[in-house]
Symmetry: D3
Subunit: 332 residues, 6 copies
C-alpha cells in the first residue's frame, strides 16, 4: 500500500527521460529508479552543472514521479571484474579511456564514488548496482578454484569496494549490491561471504531481485529471512523454468527469448515466483522501500508489459496487519 511502485529506467534509455516520465506516470508509476546511463542521468554533469539535479527532479515531478533510488549497475560491474572487450559498452568513454584493465577498473571505482556524491546531490539515499567479480569464471566450471584463489578474490572485492563505501558513508548513501550471477554475490551463501569480506559494514546491503534466485533453486523467501536488515532495495521481475528434458539451466549460449533455453525472465506474475509468499516475507522484515519494476520479458511488448506490471505490483502489495507490540520476527 504505502511502498511506492517505481520503474527502473535502464531498459528505456532509448527514450528521452521526459517521454519515459510521461508514460510511466500514465501507467501508474509513482517514481523511477534512475539509471546512470545515456541521458537519463549523467553523473559528471550532476556534479559539475549547477541545477542539473534540480531540473531532473522537476521534470519528473511534472509526472508526479519521485526518485527514491539511483542505479549504477553498468559501471559498478567493471569495478572488480576481469575487464575484457565486452566492458567497453558498459561505461562512458572517459571511464574506458585506453582500455587498459587496471586503469579501467580504477576509473570505474572513481565513477561509482562520483555517483554516490551525485546521489547525495539528488537527495537519494540508496544507490543500487552491480559489483563485478574476479571469480565468476570459476563458478561451475573446471578446474575449480582453490580456497586460496577464492580468498584472494574476496580480498580484491574488499580492496575495490571499501573506498567506495567510505564515501557512501560520508554521503549518507547506502549501496545496494544486486545479488546476481556474474557478481561477487549471486546466492545466499556467497552473499554471506561478501558481507563477511567487508566486515559486515552497514553501507553495504542488497538489491533483491527474486528472479535470479528462482532458476538457481534458491527460495527467495529464505533469502529475505536470512538478511532481514540488509534488503536495501527490491526489483520486481519474474522468471520461468522451461525445462523439457532437452533444455538446461545453463542455457547453451542461447539469448533471452530463445525457446531452447531452460529458464527465462518473465513479466511479473507470469513466471514461477511465489509473490504471495514474497510480499509476506517483505512485510515480516518491515521492508519500507520501493518496489521497482525491471522490465525484462523478451516475449511481450514492453509498453503493454510495463503498464500491466504496475497494476500487478499495486494489486500485490497489501497492507500488513498491525503487529502487537511491534515485535519483529527473528529466527533464533
Amino acid at each position: 500500500m504505502t511502498r511506492p511502485c517505481i520503474l527502473f529506467s535502464q531498459q528505456w534509455t532509448d527514450l528521452p527521460l521526459e517521454e519515459l516520465a510521461q508514460k510511466a506516470g500514465e501507467w501508474g508509476y509513482q517514481g523511477l529508479e534512475l539509471a546512470c546511463c545515456g541521458h537519463h542521468f549523467e553523473v559528471q554533469r550532476a556534479l559539475n552543472e549547477p541545477g542539473y539535479c534540480q531540473k531532473k527532479l522537476e521534470l519528473l515531478a511534472r509526472a508526479d514521479l519521485s526518485v527514491p533510488v539511483l542505479s549504477c549497475h553498468r559501471v559498478g560491474q567493471v569495478v572488480c571484474d576481469l575487464v575484457d572487450a565486452r566492458h567497453e559498452a558498459l561505461v562512458p568513454d572517459y571511464v574506458w579511456g585506453d582500455g587498459d584493465p587496471a586503469g579501467v577498473r580504477q576509473r570505474a571505482l572513481e565513477e561509482v564514488i562520483a555517483t554516490a556524491r551525485a546521489a547525495q546531490e539528488l537527495g537519494v539515499t540508496v544507490l543500487s548496482g552491480f559489483t563485478g567479480s574476479p571469480l565468476w569464471s570459476y563458478v561451475g566450471g573446471y578446474p575449480g578454484p582453490s580456497p586460496g584463489v577464492i580468498a584472494e578474490g574476496f580480498q580484491d572485492f574488499a580492496r575495490q569496494w571499501n573506498p567506495i563505501l567510505d564515501i557512501c558513508r560520508d554521503c549518507g548513501v547506502k549501496f545496494a549490491a544486486e545479488i546476481h550471477p556474474g557478481q561477487i554475490a549471486f546466492d545466499l551463501y556467497s552473499a554471506e561471504m561478501a558481507l563477511d569480506a567487508l566486515g559486515g559494514r552497514e553501507e553495504l546491503g542488497f538489491t533483491f531481485d527474486p528472479s535470479h534466485f528462482h532458476w538457481q533453486g534458491v527460495d527467495p523467501v529464505e533469502f529475505v529471512r536470512r538478511f532481514p536488515d540488509r534488503i536495501y532495495h527490491v526489483h520486481v521481475k519474474d522468471a520461468a523454468l522451461t525445462l523439457n528434458g532437452r533444455t538446461g539451466l545453463l542455457n547453451s549460449y542461447l539469448p533471452h527469448g530463445d525457446p531452447r533455453r531452460g529458464w527465462d525472465f518473465r513479466a511479473p506474475g507470469r513466471g514461477g515466483i511465489d509473490w504471495e509468499a514474497l510480499i509476506r516475507a517483505l512485510n515480516e522484515i518491515g521492508y519500507q522501500g520501493p518496489l521497482s519494476v525491471e522490465w525484462k520479458d523478451s516475449g511481450m511488448n514492453r509498453e503493454h508489459g510495463a503498464e500491466e506490471a504496475c497494476k500487478f505490483v499495486k494489486r500485490l502489495d497489501f497492507e500488513p496487519a498491525a503487529r502487537q507490540g511491534g515485535q519483529a520476527f527473528r529466527e533464533s
Copy 2:
C-alpha cells in the same frame, strides 16, 4: 551383460598402477580407463620407450584388466581454455614451460596429438577428454556475450581441435569429448553447436556422464536419443540435488562435500539419476562400449565405494531383448 565394467584411474593416481590394478580386479572390474596423469600412463615414454605400452598391458593383464579407453582430460582442458595459474597443476612441466598462455595452449594441443598416437600404440580406439572453452566465463554471468563473441569462441575451438582430430583420424582413434561444465559443450544444445563447428566430423563424439546433466535439469535420456551415433564413451557417476531453499545450484564457491551446496556428486545409485531409463536408452542406441566408473563421492570411503559401484554396474547392465529385423529407432 556384455559391456565391460571399468574403473577410471584418474581419481586413484596416488596409488601405483600395480596396486590399483590388483584392487580393481578384486573389486570385480574388467578394465581401466587409464588416465594420462602421474605414473599411470606417461605419453612421452609411451611414444619413445620401446615396450612401455606392452609392459602396461601385461601389468594389467595380470589382474585380468583390459584398457578400452585412454583419458587425457587434464591436458585437453588447456587446449582451448583461457590459461591462468590454475592450469599449471593440470599438465606436465614440459607442457607448461614458461607459462605463456599462447605457448601453453600450443604445447597442450601437441600433447593431445601425442596422446592419440600413444593410444594407437596401446591398441586403444577411444580417447576421452576435456576440450577447454574460451567462452566459459560468459556462461550465466553478466554482461552476456554477443553473437559475434560466441561465434569467435567456436571458431577458436575448431582451430585448436581440428588438427588434433586429423591425427586421430590417421591413428584410427576417436575423441570422446566430455559434455561437462567448463567445456565448450556442457548441455544438449551446446553439444549440437560444437558438432556443427567441426562440420560434424566423425572423429568427434562424446563422453557421456549423466551426473553433469542432472543438476542442470537436462534429462540424460534425451541427450542419448539426440546423439545416438555420437556416444563414444560412458562415465558412470551419480549426482543428487540437495536444495533446501537456501542452497543453490551455483554452489556459492563451496567445495564438494559441503552440505550447503545445492547439488553434489554421489556414488552410482545413491543420487537422482534414473539408471533404469538410462540403461534402456543405451540399449536402444546399441551402445557397446565400456561403462566406466568415475569415483566422486566426498561422503563415502572410496574403496568401499569402488567395490559397491562395480557391483551396481553389473546389476544394472542387463541384456536387451533381441530386436526383430534389427531396426533402430530414430526420431523423425
Copy 3:
C-alpha cells in the same frame, strides 16, 4: 450467483454491530453469520427482551444484510470439553459460574439450547458451532487411547449433544458442527464416527471450512462428496503450507503469523485451497446455503482483507449448468 456471500462476525466483536454492518454492506456482503459473543447477539436478551431480535434484524436491514446463520462456537466448545482455565474466556459469566467443570458443561449445554431457541426467534434455521471433545488430548500423542476410551468419549459426546439436538428439532433448527481440530470430529473418518454416535440424526450436519482439511492432507472435495446431505454451512477461509524442512505441521507452540509455523491461515484465494474444485463440488451436491467469510490472516490488514474476500467469493461462485432431469451424483 444465488448463494449469499456473508461475513462471520466473530472476528469483529470489538466493533459495535452497527459499525460492522455498515462496513460489511459497503464491502459488498449480503449478510452476517452473527456470533453469540459480546454485544453482537446476546442469547438471554433475545429470549427475554421483547423486540430484541426484531431490532437486530432492522439494524442489519439498514445495511441490506440478512442473517442466515447464528454461531455459538465458543459456548459449544465447552459442552463436551475437559474444562480448564482456558475456557473461562469463552463463555459468559453466568455460564462459567464457579468454574466447577461438571457445572460449567451443564450450563454450556443449556446455553446452546437457549441459543437454538433464540435462533428460532430470529428466524434462523442453521446454528453453527463447535462441539468440544473429551478425546482431543489423545489425538496424535502418547500413550494412545484404547478402543474403550474412544468409545466412552463418543458416548459422552452423544450424552451431551442429544438433548440439544432434541430441542433443535423442535425449533426447526439444524446444528452445523464445525469439523475442526479440537472438536470431536476433525477429519473425514472422525466425522463419520460422530454421525454414527448420534445414530445419524438429521439435526446434526457440518460447518465445512476447507482450511482445516488442507494442512491435515485431507482433500476438502472428498469430504463434500462423502457427506452430500450433511453440509449445512460453509466457511470460506484459506490455509497455506509453509514447510521448508524445519517448520512442521504441529507448529511448535508458535502463534499464528509466526513464520516458523508449518502452516497458517490465509485470506481466501491466497493459500493452497483449490477453490475451483471446491465450488464445483458444492454445485454437485446442490448446496444452496451461504458462503461465510471467516477472516483469519495474521499477515494482512483485516479491513483490506474483508473487502477483497467478498470480491473473491463473488467472482468464485458461478452458476452451475442446468442438470438434465435433476439427477444428483451419488457414488455407489
Copy 4:
C-alpha cells in the same frame, strides 16, 4: 561400518530376555537398547540385588550383544504429563501407588533417577526416554494456549527434569529425550524451546527417530544439522504417508495398521524416509553411537522384519570419507 546395529527391546518384552537375545544375535544384531519394562531390566533389582547387572551383561554376552543404551520411555512419560487412567499401564505398581497424580509424577521422577543410577551400575552412558508434557492437549486444538500457559508448561518441565539431570551428571549419564508427539519437544522449534528451558545443559540431548518428523513435514536432515552436538541416540524406524484425499494426518482415532490412516510406521527402508541423506547427515556431524532398530510395522511379521531391518541397517551404514584436517561443518 563402525556404529553398532542394535535392537530396542521394548517391543519384545513378551519374550524372555534370553530368548530375545538369542534371536537378536542370530539376526545379526550387535547389541540391545534394553527397556526398563517387564523382566528385561528391573531398576529396583538392579540397584538392590548384587550381581543383577553383571548377570544381565553375561546373558547378553553369550549372544555377542552389548548394551550401549538403557531406555526408560514409559516411566519418563509420566514425569511431567497430566496423569490420567491411561498412565497406570505404563509404570510399575510401586510407581503408580494410589494413582494420585501429584504422587505418581513424583514417584516417576524418582524412578527415572533410580534408572540413571542403574545405568551407571550397568556401565551405560546414555539413557533414552520420553519426558511427558503438560502442554500436549493444547497442540493443534482449540482454544489455543496463551503465551503464559506455554511458559508455565516449560517451567513445569524444567522443575521436574532438572533434578533428574543433576543426578545424570553425577552418574556420568546423558539423557536422550525422544523428540516425539506427546512429549514436550516434538519438532525442531519445540526442541529448541526445551533446550532453552533447561539453559542448554549438556546432560540433555535427543533420541532422534526420523519417523516422527516425516509425517509432520519436518526434514529429519535439517534437524540433525540444527543440533549437531545433541544427537545422543538414534532410532531406526520408517514411516509412510498414505494420503488419498480421505485419509488425514491426525488419523481419526484409528489404530496403527488401519488403512484409513493418513500415515503409519513402516519397517526401515519401506517408508518415505530418505535414509541416504540421513546417514550422510549423521556422518557429517560425526555421530558415533548405535543405530537402534525400533520395530513398529503393523503389517509385517515382526521376526521376519527384525532380521530384514538388521540387514538394512548394515547395508545403509557406510564408512565416510576421511576428512581433511578434521574440520566439521557448522552453518554460520
Copy 5:
C-alpha cells in the same frame, strides 16, 4: 491483441443464428467459427441459393462479427470412420440416405467438398473439421493392430481425403483437421503419420485444441513447436485432471460432468492448461489466426461462461515483443 477472439457456434445450434450473434457481440466476441449444422450454415443452400452467404455475412456484420473459419466437424467424422448407428445423428438426411456404410462415407466425402466450395463462396480460407478414423477401435485395446492393419488404415485415410484436399486447393481453402481422440491423428506422432500419409501436402494442417493433449500427457507447447507451419486454427478450451486414485483417464463410460471421471473439459483458465506458455508458443511460431472459444464445461452455465471466456482470451492474448530481423525459431 490483433488475433480475433471468436466463438465456435457448434455448441449453440439450438439458438437461431441471429440470437447467438447478438449475444456473442454483447459478450465481446469479434467473430464466429460457423458450424455447418442445423440452420447456422446450410451447405447446399449456400451453393444453390443466390445471396445466401451474403445474407449470413450481413446478419453477422450487424453484430460486428466476422467469419474467419467454417466448421464441418460432424460430416468430416463420417468420411473415414467405420460407420455405425451413432453416425446418423451427425449428418443431414441426404448424406445418411439409406445408411449403407460405403454410400454414407462417399456422400460425406462429397459434402465436405461442397463445404469447401461454400467456404470459398463465403470468403473463408480455413475449413476446420474432423477426419474420422478406420483405426480408432484399435487404439489402446486388445488385440493390437498389426503394422499392416495400420498401414491400410492410413491408406484409406489418404484415399478418402486426397480428393477433398484437391478441391480445397482449387478453392483456396485450407483444411484444419482437429487433433482429437477418435480421429486419424490424436497426438503428436499420429499427426506426423497423418501428414506423411498425404505426402505433407500443404492443404492439410491442424485445428489445435490444447484440451485434448492435456489429459493424454502431451505438452501442447511441444506440439506447437513441432508443427510451426501447420497450425491453421486454434480452439480455446481447457481440461482438468481429476484423478483421485479411483478415477481413471479412460473414464468408465461416464458422461461429461460426472465427478467419477478422471478428466473433464473446463472453461478456459479453469483447468490445467498452461495458457501463459501456450500463448508464447503461438507467438513464437507467428500464428495470426483467430482464437476460437469452444464452450464445453458441464459444470457452468454456458452464457455466464461464454462471456467470461471472451474476457479471458482478450486478457491472455498479449502483443509479442518486436523480433529483430523477423527470424523465427526452428529447432535444428
Copy 6:
C-alpha cells in the same frame, strides 16, 4: 511367504511345455498359470483324451510345479467382441470356422465352457481370461455412446457370459476376468458396472494386473480395497510412464518397445508400480492365491527377466503380522 510364485505360460508358447517347465523350476517358480494356447494345454484333448490332464500334471510335477490357474484369455476375448479379421489368430480353427461373427462368438462361448470343464478335470478352481467388449470402440473417441448404447452393451455382455458362469458354478470354478483395456471392464467404475450387469454373482471376480491401472492414473491399491472379495487372481507386471512432453498415453499406434510411446510394460520392480503398498493391500484383504508373473518387457532378454522376476516376487511377498481377532477392514 505362503503365496505361490508362478509363471504365466502365454508368453512362452513357442517353447514345448516340458522345456518351459524345466526352466521355470530352475528359475525358482512354484507353478504355472497354464495358457490354453498352442500345445501347452489343449481343451478338447483334455476333455476327450483320457489321462491327458494327468500327464500334464505329472510333467509339471517333475519340475516341482503346480497349476493353480488355467488361462483362456484369447478365446475369452472373442466371446463378446465385435469380431473382425484380427480375431482369427486368437482362436483354434474349429472355433473360427467360417469366420461369420455370430457363429464365431457362439463357438468361442462354447469353448470357454469347455475350458471350465477342463479346469475341473485338471483340478483347477480359477479360470482367468478376457471377456471381450462390444463397447470398446466407443471408449475415448467420438462420437460418444448414448446411455442406451452402453446399456445394450452390458446386456450383450450378460447374455454371453451368464451361460458360461452357470457352468463354472456347476464345475466349482471361478472366472477371473482380467481388468484390461479392450475388455468390458478396464478400470474401477467399469468393473462395478460389469459386476452389476451380472447381478453380482459370485462366479465372476477379477484377474488383477496393476500395470493396466498405472498408466490410466488409477491407484491399484484403491482397486484392491474397493473389491476385497473379488480379487480371484493376481498378475505381476509393471509399467512405466515415459512422458516427455511429446509422447502421450494413447501411444500413436506405436508398438511396445518404441521409445516414442508414453508408457510401456516393464519387468516387475523396474516400473512405476508401488509394490510395497500393493502387497500390503493384498495382505489386508487376505488374498491367498498365487502371484503370477506375466512377462512383458520389450527391452530385456526374457530368460534373464523371468529369473529376476521370480526373485523379485519372493523378496516382495512378506508374511503379514498376525491380526487380532481376525477382523478385516471394510470402509463403511
